[in-house]
Structures are given as C-alpha cells and as structure tokens.
C-alpha cells in the first residue's frame, strides 16, 4: 500500500532540519558502561556467599533427624526447611515448624542464623558501598546526562566551559528561551547548574572537553545541536573543541573565545569558526568610543541583553597622550588601536626589554620613579591593563593621585573584584568575560541584532544619540526586549491584504489596538528587505511582504503588536479604523465582507 510506511505524522513541533535527521557518531563504543553491569559485577561475591549459606543451612536442616508430635523420628522436607530458613534469615521468625525442634536441630539452626546474618550484612554492605562509590556515581551521572541529552527534542547549544563567560551567556540565552548543554572540567561549576535559576533544565557534565567522546556524550552529533561555543579560559581547550566540532559536524556554527592571535589563526584553519578575542574587541570598542561615544553607548546597551540599564556615555579624550600599564597581549592590541586613532601612547611594562618599541618604559608601574618617567601629569588617559586586579586597582589609585583629571580605563580579571572596581569609578572597564558574553549574545540572539550592530557605527554619532533618546523615551532606562518579526502569511496573517495593497506603513502598524490615535511604545530598529537593511526606519516607511523587522519594546507592547499582526478584527481597527465583530457568526450577520 503506497504511503502505508509513513503512517505516523511528524508533530507540529517537529523542527529538525531535513538534512540532519540522524545522529553523527564519532566512535563505535561511545556509550559509557551500563551501570547495571557494574552493579552485577561488584555483587557477584556477596551473592554467591549468600546463596551458599542458604544452601548449606537448608541442606543441613533436611538431613538432621527430628521428631514429630507423636515422638516418631522424622525429617524436615526441603520446602519446610527453605521456608524456615527464609523467615529466620530475614529476622522475621515464626517459630519452629512443623514440629518443635530437637536439640540437634536447634544446634544447627543457631549456627545457620549467625551464618545468614553475616551473609546478609556482607551483601547489603557491598551494595551500599557500591552506591557510595565515586566511580559508580560518575558512571550514573554520565548515563543520566547522556540520556537527558539524547532525549532533547528542541535545538540546543553546546557550551564547553562554564566559567564567568559561560554563566553570563547561559543566563542571557536562557532568558531568550534557548536550550543549553554544558561541559566543564570543574565538577563544582557543573553542580552549580542546579542552583542557578534557569527556566529550562540545563544538563551538565563534568568532563574534559578536549576528549571527543565527552563532546559526543554532550550531544555534538545530536540532530538538534545547533551550535558549539568554546568558552573555557584555556586557549588550547577552545582550539580542541573547535577542531572536534569542525571535523565531526562541519555544518555546525562554532564560536570560540581566545586571547591569542596565534590560536585564532589556528582555529581559522578548521572551517570558519567565529573567533572572539576580548582584547581585540575591547580595542575596537574603545576606538568606537573615542570616535562616537553615543554609538558606543548604544552598542553596549543593546549587547547587554534584556533588562540592562543604560550605560553611562563615556567621553574618552580624543587628543593627547595615553599611558598604558602592562604591555602584554592586551597592551599591544590596545596600543595598536590607539595609534590607529592618532593618539600617542606611553607603555610601562615590568618585563619589557630596553630595546623594544621607543614608547615602552621598562619597569614596575607601582614604583614612583617609573610613574614619573611616564609623565602622567601631562597625559590624558590611563589604562591599567595587567592581569592582576590588585595591581590594577593600586595603579589606578596612584595615577589618579598624580593627575585627578585622567580618563581611567582598567582591566578586571576576576568577578569577585567587581565591587572594588565599581567603587573606584573607572571610566571604562574591560571585563574580558563580559566582552565575550555580550559579543556572542549579540550574534546568537537574533541575526538582525548582529547586523544592526555592525551597520550602526557607519551612521555616525548624532544618529546614535537620537536612537538612544528614542529608546529611552519609549522604553525607559532599562533595555526592553528585542524581537524579530517577519511579515509573511505565517507570522502576520492579519496583514496580508494591507501588504498586497502596498499601503502598509510602519506607523499604521504601530497604532495602539485600544486607541488607534495613540502609538505603541515600540522602537523599530531595523528593516531587512532582500538583503538590504534600513536602520531606524521612520514611521512613514512603507512595508512589503517578506520584510524582516527588528523591534524593541516592553512585553505588553509586544503582545499588543502581535494582536495587530495576527487577529483580523484587531488589525481591521488598527489599520482602517473599522470596528468589525470578531466572531464568525456576527460577521455573517452584519455582512461586513472583508
């Protein structure tokens, strides 16, 4: 019968892409040892001891002569003996059956009771030890994790490394409703997953992400795996994760973090991973902040995720000399960026050799004479960029002491020191973990936001200033939700006619369903049409079918707009000002044909 083999219908939530319906397996024996085998193996000796003790006791009882109630010699049958031993060994004890025991029988039973108690104690003790055993618990955890991952039926992201960055990003992505699977070498961090307030269940495994098998357990080959994020603070691990993902699943997008350009180069050799270098990105951000403070402010705000407060608009000095403490990877990146902006730089580094670049002063930044050589009094900006937070804080304090008017930037390495840096009122703070998390968030949340952030700086500072003001006026000082809408039959069914007429403007759409004279507090950020983007479109922008919109607004406003886009009677009122009944019968009765 044709078609009879497909008697089932895929569910409505079937979102799996067609080409990836099957698991991609990397190794033959990828499954961990089934825990039941482990139990059976360990329980062999105790069980055999128990069986033997039972057998000996029962056999003895049947062999020892007894006496029945009439005083005639008799022997106990196997069944009675087994029954007696069963209730005696389990300490239930119904007494002596079928007849009162003779002395010889009691002697044997006494010995049997002690033997069986030892047997039970040994068996139960072994079982409890097994349950406490670390290897056993790990095997159980791995099995549970593998099963949970295998049962995922919606797209999920595989995160390797659940440190500061992973946690920040995990929370933001979870707020967007994305599913995550986490691997980290540190068991404590994985345990913290249970405590962290996630909306959805996040399976976590303590394991080495460098091991392809661990990645396999975490669902690298899973048909619903939609991307891999390598976020550990070890460049080599990140490289290994990138490699594994690129070799096993070349179709998956990979985002990796690194602070070393060399590793970045090696990563690029495997497919086309998106590499995020926090130092490099911070340099770019600082350049943007130098050129267009408002653009930078807008970018930082949108990248921070829903609910973030509007950041202060930093005003780094655009001319003059900067002093940099710490000339490592970060210092070099930043110096290049500052030079590119036409600023002069004096760098201080304890490990710098004298013959290096002319602007480098070798020495310890915390020594007064070295600071004096840098001539802070005539500098405009100061960057404390060492990898030690205590040093950075003391450097900032020393620099402020010499020149209170300095623009101060600093690098914060550890999350615990955040309150100290906040108390110092640093003008521009680099937190590598946050830079990476925000960058990846912007790329993953919606592709339109990423597009917006890339195109936005070109429009200039003035445009960004207006946009920030608009967002603030409509949505308040906390970043509202950003969402994407495609104007097509499935997402905006109520709009089809208006779109065909070619008269739908953005302003019409954003009228309030309660009172169409009012406008919804929604700011359109971007319209994408045939690959062309319009940033911050005006209200008279004419919409077409197929347009993709990136909008910002509070959740109630979003719901109101969704009503307009999907409910026919609402859209009739909003777009045309006609009040039509919403039920089919009333529409028939009033004969208001659409």
């Amino acid at each position: 019968m044709p078609g009879s083999r497909r008697w089932w219908r895929p569910g409505r939530d079937e979102q799996r892409p067609r080409e990836a319906r099957r698991w991609t397996r990397i190794a033959v024996a990828v499954q961990g040892p089934p825990t039941v085998f482990l139990i059976l193996r360990r329980m062999r000796a105790p069980l055999i001891v128990l069986i033997s003790i039972f057998a000996v006791s029962v056999l003895g009882l049947t062999l020892i002569p007894g006496r029945d109630d009439a005083g005639q010699p008799t022997r106990m049958g196997f069944f009675d003996a087994f029954y007696f031993m069963s209730y005696t060994a389990t300490t239930i004890g119904y007494g002596e059956i079928p007849h009162a025991f003779t002395g010889a029988q009691r002697l044997w039973v006494t010995a049997a009771i002690y033997l069986t108690v030892i047997g039970w104690a040994y068996a139960i003790g072994s079982l409890l030890t097994l349950l406490q055993d670390r290897a056993f618990r790990q095997a159980l955890a791995l099995q549970r994790f593998t099963r949970t991952v295998a049962r995922l039926r919606e797209p999920f992201l595989l995160i390797a490394g659940y440190g500061q960055t992973g946690r920040l990003l995990g929370r933001e992505l979870d707020a967007l409703g994305r599913r995550l699977v986490v691997i980290d070498t540190d068991a404590e961090r994985v345990d913290a997953l249970d405590i962290d307030a996630y909306r959805s269940d996040v399976p976590g495994l303590a394991g080495d992400a460098r091991n392809p098998q661990t990645m396999e357990h975490a669902g690298l080959g899973h048909p619903y795996c939609e991307g891999v994020l390598a976020l550990t603070d070890d460049d080599e691990v990140n490289l290994a994760v990138t490699m594994t993902a690129a070799l096993v699943r070349p179709d998956l997008p990979v985002i990796a973090r690194t602070v070393s350009p060399a590793v970045e180069h090696r990563m690029a050799a495997f497919g086309s991973p998106t590499v995020v270098n926090p130092f490099d990105r911070y340099g770019d951000h600082l350049r943007l902040a130098l050129r267009a403070p408002a653009s930078y402010q807008l970018m930082a705000w949108l990248e921070s995720g829903p609910g973030a407060a509007l950041p202060e608009r930093a005003q780094p000095p655009r001319a003059g000399r900067w002093v940099l403490c710490g000339y490592g990877r970060f210092g070099r990146e930043l110096t290049e960026d500052l030079h590119a902006e036409g600023l002069t730089v004096t760098a201080i580094d304890i490990q710098a050799v004298a013959c290096a670049e002319p602007w480098v002063i070798p020495g310890d930044g915390s020594e007064p004479q070295v600071m004096a050589a840098a001539d802070l009094a005539h500098a405009v900006g100061f960057v404390a960029g060492t990898d030690n937070d205590t040093t950075n804080l003391s450097l900032v304090a020393a620099a402020r002491h010499i020149n209170p008017g300095l623009f101060v930037a600093s690098r914060q390495n550890r999350p615990e020191t955040a309150p100290l840096f906040a108390a110092m009122r640093i003008d521009s703070l680099l937190v590598p973990a946050e830079v990476v998390a925000h960058e990846i968030y912007a790329q993953l949340s919606t592709p339109l936001l990423w597009r917006f952030l890339r195109e936005m700086p070109a429009l200039g500072d003035e445009w960004a200033r207006t946009m920030v003001e608009r967002l603030q006026r409509h949505c308040g000082r906390r970043l509202p939700g950003l969402w994407r809408t495609t104007l097509d039959a499935s997402e905006t069914p109520a709009l089809a006619r208006r779109l065909r007429e070619g008269r739908a403007t953005l302003g019409d759409l954003l009228r309030r369903p309660v009172d169409r004279e009012q406008r919804l507090d929604i700011v359109p950020l971007l319209i994408l049409r045939d690959g062309q983007v319009t940033l911050g479109p005006a209200d008279d922008h004419v919409l077409q079918a197929g347009d993709q919109l990136l909008l910002a607004g509070q959740p109630p406003e979003q719901r109101a707009l969704t009503d307009t886009l999907t409910i026919d009677s609402v859209s009739r009122y909003v777009l045309y000002g006609q009040r039509v009944p919403s039920s089919w019968i009333w529409r028939r009765l009033t004969r208001s044909n659409p």
């Binding site: 040892p33 085998f37 482990l38 059976l40 193996r41 360990r42 329980m43 062999r44 069980l47 055999i48 069986i51 033997s52 039972f54 057998a55 029962v58 056999l59 049947t62 049958g77 196997f78 069944f79």
Partner: protein
C-alpha cells in the same frame, strides 16, 4: 591457569552434571529421581548464574541467558515438586513427577548449551 576460569568452568559443568543426574531415569518414577540432587542442581545453577554476571562480551551475554533459562526451568521444577508434595491431595504421583522431571529436562538442554559455549570459548581462545 587462572583460578577464576577454573571456578567458572567447575560450576558450569557441575550445574549440567547435577541436572543430568536428576533428569536421567524413568520420567514418571519418583524413586529414580533424588530430591537432594534437584536441590543441589538449583543451588549450583544459581551460583553459576551469579558467576556470569557483569561480562559484557557477546558470548558472556549468551552464557548469562542460558543460565537464566536453566534457573527458570529448575525453579519451575521445584515449584511443581513443592506443589505435589505439599498442596496436592494425590501426593507425588507419576504424573506430577513427570512434570518435575521434564521441566528439569528443559533446564538440562540450557545447561548443555552453556557447556557447549564454554567449550567454544575455550577452543577459540588463543594466547598471544
């Protein structure tokens, strides 16, 4: 020589021989079938089963399966025997004895398969 292999072979073989000893003789004659032998067969079979626990190879899995079958058959035989001696009004007559012995015959078949597997395993084992 490994002690583990000796013990394993011993119990597998002993299970089969005890089973055979109980089974042999006229099916319906209670005099020819010793209840102690049946008891010993059940105990040795249980021990052989536990010894086969936790082996993850293919042949180990089949070993365990045959042992489980033998256990099932022998326990059914003891239950039939218990019923006949304790519950049934007729006592251990020819009919019920035939049921007990034929059930143990099934267990014997499983035990023979077990022994055959043991032999195959031994023959195919090559020390490198």
């Amino acid at each position: 020589m490994s002690l583990e292999k000796v013990i394993f072979g011993f119990f597998v073989l002993l299970a089969a021989t005890l089973n055979f000893g109980f089974f042999i003789g006229d099916l319906a004659d209670p005099k020819l079938h010793n209840e102690y032998e049946l008891f010993a067969a059940v105990v040795v079979n249980l021990i052989a089963t536990v010894l086969k626990f936790g082996d993850r190879t293919q042949i180990g899995a089949v070993h365990l399966a045959t042992s489980l079958v033998a256990d099932l058959q022998l326990i059914a035989a003891t239950l039939a025997w218990t019923w006949a001696t304790q519950v049934s009004a007729d006592g251990l007559d020819g009919e019920s004895m035939a049921a007990v012995v034929s059930l143990s015959g099934g267990a014997l078949l499983a035990n023979i398969v077990s022994v055959v597997l043991l032999v195959i395993e031994t023959v195919s084992f090559q020390r490198r």
